[in-house]
Subunit: 155 residues, 2 copies
DNA sequence: CACGGACCGTTGAAAATGTCAATTATTTGT
DNA sequence: ACAAATAATTGACATTTTCAACGGTCCGTG
């Protein structure tokens, strides 16, 4: 054994060998930051951001979520959901329908224009996602999604 | 084949079967949101947040990063790094040393108090991380980290 | 050597997001 | 019928993000 302690990689990216780089929270945060930036850039041409895209996706998917469900699913404050839907509704992409089963609640549905825009936006989003996953083998795509699901939806 | 279209899970969590739930960006965002909240809660007792913890970690690890390196590594604006370091420096956890090789740049080093606090904070952070990974098998921990690294550090 | 252009950290302002408490309308349980 | 709980909304406030401008320093070229 050499008596010398840690050999310090003096190169470009010494930081990548720090303890932090093994930290799951950090890796998640950084991966998320890059992904989010790429997604927002790609969605901009459709006048969307990741947030509004998510809301539109759920509306277009005929899930008929209430605003509360949206808030919890997207981890947003209910008041942010209000603003988000206001924006989409003003553009006629989405409509609030009062839930017949509970007149306090609104259920979100997409208009035809909303569905059309979502279809276009989705293909942009998919393209970006494939680009980000370039270094990951196809079978690992699903593995990654599975593992993330465990973190994203703890029982 | 049944002529009926999509069978709609009418249960608690129909949203989890939506197209969005297969979206990597969404899973990353949600996993990150939960993880970040848990980390912040655990770090609060040490007067830290995920951000300041990350900075302290790099300082304590003797990586001697410049502020610019910190900004890029943590995906922050350089001005945010200034504020972050100001906070830690005021608490004497960290010091700015002007880089002898480039007097424009500051290099960040941890004080003894900073190292001590980091050691304590790190064990809180690890405990939280293990809790979040409860549903993931130990060998998948590393697999997940590997996959996230590919996203977090595209060559 | 001197100069211009690039780069580092810092400041400050503006925009976007996040957090929270209060309000109205409705539901639910008793 | 009533009290407590819940859905959406509003408005206030804090935190975070984003950006442009500035002084000090470095580097390459003339």
């Amino acid at each position: 054994m050499s008596p010398i302690g840690k050999t310090r990689p003096t190169g470009r990216d010494r930081l990548r060998d720090s303890v932090l780089a093994g930290d799951l929270s950090f890796l998640l945060a950084r991966a998320n930051a890059l992904t989010l930036a790429a997604a927002n850039a790609a969605l901009a041409e459709h006048g969307l951001k990741a947030r509004s895209y998510s809301v539109l996706a759920l509306a277009a998917d005929d899930v008929r979520p209430t605003q509360r469900e949206l808030a919890e699913f997207l981890r947003l404050d209910p008041s942010q959901v209000v603003a988000l839907i206001d924006g989409l509704e003003k553009r006629q992409l989405v409509e609030r329908r009062t839930d017949p089963a509970d007149r306090r609640a609104n259920v979100l549905v997409a208009t035809d224009a909303g569905r059309a825009l979502f279809a276009r936006a989705q293909s942009s989003a998919r393209a970006v996602e494939l680009g980000l996953l370039a270094a990951v083998t196809p079978e690992d795509h699903e593995r990654l999604a599975e593992l993330l699901r465990l973190l994203a939806f703890p029982e």
